[in-house]
Symmetry: C2
Subunit: 153 residues, 2 copies
């Protein structure tokens, strides 16, 4: 009999966390990409790269969770769980770094003046950074829940 840790891989709480990550990271990607010359700033390209990694990762784990919740419980293997934990952990650090860089560059651009950043664009950058922060927070939560489960396997 396996313990059911809420939020660990294969539970409905984990599905909710993954869906949240998917939504926030793709929102961050869209706010930054659509109609914006994001590649002129290093931090913005970095944010796009990282969010482009986080989105497919979250989508695929959300699919695994959905399968496990709605169709058939999958057996948990420590090796797979370890890969998921390490992946989440690395991506959460990377998305924190990307969110911080974007937020600080945006704040600098706002202060320097409107020639670098028309007000409509700047608020989109800020929204994108906020979404990246939320996505970081959720993937950190996933890491911790899975890490909690690991010793019991």
């Amino acid at each position: 009999m396996m313990e059911q840790v809420p939020g660990a891989l294969g539970t409905s709480a984990s599905l909710a966390l993954r869906l949240g990550q998917t939504i926030f990271s793709s929102a961050s990607l869209l706010f930054m990409c659509l109609d914006v010359e994001f590649y002129s700033y290093t931090s913005f390209s970095y944010l796009v790269t990282i969010m482009g990694l986080v989105t497919p990762w979250s989508v695929s784990l959300a699919l695994v969770d959905a399968y496990s919740v709605f169709i058939k419980g999958l057996p948990r293997q420590p090796k797979i769980l370890l890969i998921v934990i390490v992946g989440d952990w690395a991506l959460s650090f990377l998305s924190l770094a990307a969110a911080c860089s974007t937020a600080s560059v945006t704040s600098l651009l706002v202060n320097v003046g409107t020639s670098f950043c028309p007000s409509k664009l700047c608020s989109r950058y800020q929204l994108s950074a906020a979404m990246a922060f939320l996505s970081w927070f959720l993937s950190l939560a996933s890491t911790l829940f899975n890490l909690w489960l690991l010793p019991s396997l």
Copy 2:
């Protein structure tokens, strides 16, 4: 008989980690503070705030480790260890955020032009960000070593 995990609180490896954190965080602080108007940029003020927290934290834990190594081994209590882990963990996230913000703002200032940042100042900002990254890395290592010890107590 207590297990000796290298790098956990009270060992000589931990003392080395703490000394490294002290050196890197105070170097980051000095590069940023001395003769620079750091308060005109939000990220730089943030870096100074965080490094001003990391330095006394590392110094005090280095003193605890030095006492424990050279004079008398202190008994390890789970509560104190938990406080140290949580503190290290929070400070490592904060210093990663500060290092990323500083690095990205510096890179932006370098690209925008020399009117915002004479080349001598810019290289100091970069050095400060690099030191903050090293300090982040060492405090993450401390967190992980202590976390490894926690279940055995």
